[in-house]
């Protein structure tokens, strides 16, 4: 029962965050950030005499609010990119390793300072009567 109550509390907290995110996404600021809506831009002519416009249109990003263009997915996202995409995992691991190294270095550098501050906060021992 206690466990269920705790799980419920976590889920409620997550729902509050989700609700707030959803509410914020409905504000005018969010709609400005998301870019122009469907039908807001005038459509380009599909073809020209030399056919250049069609090619441009194919390579240009979609600006009609219908999500990121297919090129954004770099082709490998749907089915998984295999071993070559391990570079992506390695990159994330490297970022985390750099952060850990930087924080460890900083804490090691500031350790004497922290020790000095802690010693200053400690009350002085009572003077010996001897």
């Amino acid at each position: 029962m206690k466990l269920l109550l705790r799980v419920l509390m976590i889920v409620v907290a997550a729902l509050i965050v989700s609700g707030a995110t959803f509410a914020l996404s409905r504000t005018s600021l969010a709609s400005n950030m998301s870019g122009p809506q469907r039908g807001q831009f005038e459509r380009r002519p599909s073809t020209t005499a030399d056919g250049a416009s069609t090619r441009e249109q194919a390579s240009a990003p979609q600006l009609d609010g219908a999500g990121p263009p297919e090129g954004f997915r770099r082709g490998g996202e749907r089915g998984g990119g295999g071993l070559f995409s391990l570079v992506e995992v390695g990159g994330h691991l490297l970022v985390i390793a750099l952060i850990v190294a930087a924080v460890s270095f900083l804490s090691r550098v500031t350790q004497p300072l922290q020790a000095r501050l802690a010693a200053r906060r400690k009350p002085a021992p009572p003077a010996s009567t001897a």
Binding site: I10, S25, M33, S34, P68, G80, S85, E88, I99, V103
Partner: protein, 178 residues
């Protein structure tokens, strides 16, 4: 006579779950590596694992929440603030991911939103989560190293016995080879 039940080691459970969460996080963060279906389902499971992680540290959460404005140490306070930010960020990542889901939710006939702010918010919060997870690991690095040595390295490495212990470890009838 009742069989004696050994209490499971809390640190060991924490280490195993945290390691699994970390591996899942790395894979879920790389949709090009895993593919979109694995990315989505793993992220949903990741949410459940986060709940387990929070339940395992419930006493700490309650303790710091109560003493945050009173007598908590600054290191505990900063850790708490970071963890709250991480919880909010991970929730946003999972929520926005569900909003733009292409495999998981459509499987149940739920139509998801294509476009809008969700893709951008999902990418931004995911990038932020990488930094926050890095800081979270960094703040617990000493514990991770200690537990890794205790539960992974020590059982794997051959036990170094002192010469006296080696002698006592020999069977009594077996002669020591020169």
């Amino acid at each position: 006579m009742q069989p004696t039940r050994t209490k499971p080691n809390r640190n060991k459970i924490n280490l195993v779950i945290d390691l699994a969460i970390f591996v899942a996080f790395l894979i879920a963060m790389s949709p090009h590596f895993s593919g979109i279906a694995v990315h989505e389902w793993l992220s949903i499971a990741f949410g459940a694992a986060i709940i387990a992680h929070l339940l395992l540290h419930w006493e700490w959460i309650v303790g710091i929440t109560r003493s945050f404005f009173k007598k908590a140490r600054w290191s505990a306070r900063s850790n708490y603030v970071l963890n709250v930010l991480l919880f909010i960020d991970i929730t946003i990542v999972i929520f926005t991911g569900l909003m733009i889901s292409e495999d998981a939710l459509p499987l149940f006939g739920i139509q998801t939103i294509r476009g809008g702010i969700w893709h951008g918010l999902h990418s931004f919060s995911a990038d932020l989560s990488l930094v926050l997870v890095g800081l979270h690991i960094a703040l617990h690095w000493e514990w991770i190293v200690k537990m890794f040595k205790r539960f992974v390295l020590t059982p794997l490495l051959p036990r170094r016995l002192s010469p006296q212990m080696q002698l006592t470890a020999q069977p009594p009838d077996k002669k020591v080879q020169p």
